[in-house]
Subunit: 341 residues, 2 copies
Amino acid sequence: MATIKDIASKTGYSIGTVSRVINNKSDVSEEARTRIEEAIKELDFHPNRNAKMLKQVAPSGIAVIVRGIGNRFLNSIFEKIQTDLIENGENISVRFISETENEVETAMRSVRHTRPKGFIFLGGSLDDFTDYFQEIPVPGVVVTCDVSTLNIDSLSSYSTDDYTAARAAINTLITAGHRNIGVIGGYPTTNLSDNLQRRLKGAKDELEANDLVFETNFNYIPCPFSYEAGYEAANRLLDNCPETTAVFALSDTVGISVMRAAADRGMKIPEDLSVLGFDGIDICNYSIPRLSSMKQDAAHLAKMAVDDILIRVNYQRPAVHETVPYTFVEGESIAPPRAIK
Amino acid sequence: MATIKDIASKTGYSIGTVSRVINNKSDVSEEARTRIEEAIKELDFHPNRNAKMLKQVAPSGIAVIVRGIGNRFLNSIFEKIQTDLIENGENISVRFISETENEVETAMRSVRHTRPKGFIFLGGSLDDFTDYFQEIPVPGVVVTCDVSTLNIDSLSSYSTDDYTAARAAINTLITAGHRNIGVIGGYPTTNLSDNLQRRLKGAKDELEANDLVFETNFNYIPCPFSYEAGYEAANRLLDNCPETTAVFALSDTVGISVMRAAADRGMKIPEDLSVLGFDGIDICNYSIPRLSSMKQDAAHLAKMAVDDILIRVNYQRPAVHETVPYTFVEGESIAPPRAIK
DNA sequence: CTGAAAGCGCTTACAG
DNA sequence: CTGAAAGCGCTTACAG
């Protein structure tokens, strides 16, 4: 494998000069640049990144960490962020990690080894940031999860107002005439700054504000966001509360499996059961029936995150925490309950 | 950030000795090991991977390259491979790349920088391997794509027999009584070793063996594997051939959107239109109706790939190319055509 | 504009 | 069992 030395000896220049052309430094003669570039082509030379990073001081590029490998919603944000970043001429490195990994530890490793100028986190757990992010010397922004309560100067966040969106979701069902409403998805913890907890709290508060019940493991069934888990949870809910006429699913994936579970019980959607999802991923528009959903604005979130990091990477600016509007996307999965039709 | 020198001076040992305990070499006294390990904890020292890789000669770990970021089927294989590899105590590094990137170039960069012992490729394009894989000095295995025709000594492959599975798919529809069959998905190229091309060829051959037509852009509509593209393709197909009673979709994603498109045209599934997908991903079991599919055995593919690479990483063995059985998973999306009911 | 030299943080023979 | 030294492939002041 060709090294910088091979290029140097082949062209007769010193490795210092070769290094300068590799890194597009200005003080190199045209002739040197041309000859060295030719040699690089010829020998198929690629600088060893380890050696480069070992010595280089200036951080470069933006590191994106996506927490949730198969997560369609985060994937859709990622695709937009990638496009935006490339348009702005920034190098980008991505890591997809599973929900069980710690994104901030991943980031710390990244800082040590690849020295990015800044981070974008898609998804994330509040606790991970609380424990470690202070130690990371470059700015970051987290998307889909409000971290304003953490008060970390270098960490912005852009998220949907999950609490309000969830209240609106329940309200949509109530407005359609439903009084027997179930909730499925997520897991009950005490960390109320977590976005799923806000979603849950919103559902609870709106139900209770309307004198409706919200009881964990009765009409609220926690579950992970997979089809399988959602299906089981839906069955538990419908076993517990056979009079249920509407379900708010904390994610679209769960919403899809709720529809399936209902169908397997001979219920028609939306006539016998209304279902409302969350996120607004593409499958909503292709399921039968189409799944109504509280849609998070992925494109907007992506744009805010990119603009923010590109500025804060170059200028000292306080972190900002903003919320982007959600929209109710009407599908075909909500109708008034049979009784009042 | 603490370096190996800090540990050395803190403990009074030389950096050589510190390096030995970091790498679990045998010839270190118990006392040295203990004291150095303590210091490592205390100073929160993490070896700089760039420096390590720069010098280290012995390759380590298995690199997995997944080509297709949001691909549910490849994701499901990946999850199993990850588990298998961890159980075997192997370090694993993953890269998710998009279909437009070249997986072999990614691998070459990886070799240069992280020196893995071997590669597992999930998905892939034959052409990329043809051009470059010879230059990679460690063994590899590609999953879902048969590369036996390439005759690269260091490259195994495990795949579904796409050709036969596709013939069986069409045959299933014919057996159900269909004569007006459409095909959707993939793209027609000339590279017949590509797995999608085999799938396509299988469909074509089986149709023609039964005196049925297969005509690109008439009853075969090529399209990328997204809901949106599948939906449009389905509409084109049904516009072209209104008498279609069954569709073979080259992926489940496309199958789902075919069902949606048909429903939007007022067709009932399976009464008016039978749909058969390919891959057997989890959504098949949660769609309404459940999507019948030619299922690839993800768990089996994963196990074969891991066993293969773990052996060939340690012993000189010829590459092997094997095919794992597919299974027809019956859902609720296939019925006889109305006419003969 | 260019070269010579130091050094990034490690690993690895080589001595002892 | 341990240390001293060379060197991995680069970048970066420093001279000139």
